[in-house]
C-alpha cells in the first residue's frame, strides 16, 4: 500500500523537486515549532511558570487557533514528506513510535481545551490540571526527540 503511494506521480514530482520538497519542509518545521511552542506555553501557564498574571482561559483563547492551524499544517506537510519515502518510513520502528507519541500528545491537548474554563473557575489550579500539563510537555518534547532520532537511527529524511 505504501509503495503505491510512494510511486504515485505527484509523490515522485515532490521527491525529485528540491524546491517543492524544501517548501514542504519549511511548512513542516515552522508548523511544528508553532504547534509545540504554543502547546508547551499553555502547559507552562497551567504549571504557573509562564504568564502567571493572565487568566488561563484568556491565554487559551488567544493561542487556540494557532495551535490547531499549526497542527493541521504539520500533519498535512508531514504526510507529504512521508509519502516520498512511504515504504521505508512505514517500516521503521522510530517512525511508528513518533506517530504513537504524537497521537498520545493530542489527548492532553484536547483535555486541556475542554477543561480550561473549569480550571480557571477553580481558583487554585487543580492537581489534575498540573499533571495533564506535565504529561503534555513530556509528550510534545518526546515527539521532537523521536523525530530527530529517525534520521540518526534509520538514515531516513
Amino acid at each position: 500500500m505504501w509503495e503505491v503511494l510512494q510511486h504515485a506521480g505527484w509523490v515522485t514530482t515532490l521527491g525529485t523537486s528540491r524546491r517543492l520538497y524544501g517548501l514542504v519542509s519549511v511548512v513542516h518545521y515552522s508548523a511544528v515549532f508553532i504547534c509545540v511552542g504554543t502547546n508547551v506555553l499553555l502547559d507552562l501557564r497551567i504549571l504557573a511558570v509562564a504568564a502567571r498574571n493572565q487568566a488561563l482561559s484568556v491565554l487559551a483563547d488567544q493561542l487556540r487557533a494557532w495551535t490547531w492551524i499549526a497542527f493541521g499544517s504539520a500533519v498535512v506537510s508531514g504526510f507529504l514528506l512521508f509519502a516520498v519515502e512511504a515504504g521505508d518510513y512505514a517500516a521503521a520502528t522510530p517512525f511508528r513510535v513518533k506517530m504513537l507519541v504524537i497521537g498520545l500528545a493530542v489527548i492532553p491537548a484536547l483535555v486541556i481545551e475542554w477543561s480550561v474554563r473549569r480550571w480557571d473557575r477553580a481558583g487554585v489550579m487543580p492537581v489534575t490540571a498540573r499533571l495533564v500539563a506535565l504529561i503534555s510537555i513530556m509528550l510534545w518534547l518526546g515527539a521532537i526527540l523521536v523525530s530527530v532520532e529517525i534520521p540518526a537511527l534509520t538514515g531516513l529524511g
Binding site: 519542509s25 519549511v26 509545540v36 511552542g37 498574571n53 484568556v58 488567544q62 521532537i144 530527530v148 534520521p151
Partner: protein, 167 residues
C-alpha cells in the same frame, strides 16, 4: 576576514565539546533536539505576539500583554536554541560555514530577525496603547514573522544541501 572565520571554526571543532558531539552517535541528535525545543518556545511565543500585532486571530489579549506574559519563556527558549545550535556548529563548523544557506542564516537573517525582535519588544507597549494596534505595529509584526520564516527557510536550504550525513 574569511581566514579568521575559518580559524575560529577549526578551533570550535577542536574544542572538547565539538569533538564530543562529532564523535558520539547520540550527542548530535540530542543537540538537535535542544535546538528544536528552544526554537519551539522562541518561535511559539514570538510568532503569537507578531500575529497579535498584525491583528490576525483572537483578540482576547493585547500584543503587549502577550509579550509580557511570555517574556521569560521566550528568552529561555532562545537560550536553549542557542546552546543546541552552538553545539551543532561546534561539531562541524568548517563544513557548515562553507554552505551558502548557513552563511545567509547565521550572518544575515538571524541577526536581522534578532534586532527586529528587540525593537518589537521595546516598542510594543507604545504600539498597543489603545485596543487597536497602530499601523506601524502591524507592519512590525509582519516584518518579524517574515524574518523568522526566512530564517527557517535558509536553515532548511542548509539541511537539504548539507553534504554531511549523520548516521
Amino acid at each position: 576576514m574569511y581566514d579568521v572565520v575559518l580559524a575560529c571554526c577549526r578551533w570550535l571543532e577542536n574544542t572538547p565539546w565539538g569533538a564530543t558531539v562529532r564523535g558520539s552517535s547520540w550527542m548530535y541528535p540530542i543537540a538537535l533536539w535542544l535546538h528544536f525545543v528552544g526554537l519551539s518556545m522562541w518561535l511559539g511565543a514570538s510568532l503569537a505576539v507578531d500575529l497579535r500585532l498584525m491583528g490576525v486571530g483572537a483578540r482576547r489579549q493585547t500584543a503587549a500583554e502577550l509579550s509580557n506574559g511570555f517574556f521569560a519563556c521566550n528568552w529561555i527558549g532562545f537560550g536553549v536554541a542557542f546552546l543546541g545550535g552552538f553545539l551543532l556548529l561546534s561539531a562541524e563548523a568548517t563544513t557548515y560555514v562553507a554552505n551558502t544557506g548557513f552563511r545567509l542564516k547565521l550572518a544575515v537573517l538571524t541577526p536581522l530577525a534578532m534586532i527586529w525582535h528587540l525593537v518589537v519588544q521595546r516598542k510594543i507597549r507604545l504600539w498597543t496603547q489603545t485596543e487597536q494596534t497602530s499601523a506601524i505595529g502591524k507592519w512590525a509584526g509582519l516584518i518579524e514573522l517574515s524574518l523568522w520564516i526566512s530564517v527557517v527557510t535558509a536553515s532548511v536550504g542548509f539541511l537539504l544541501t548539507n553534504a554531511v550525513i549523520h548516521a
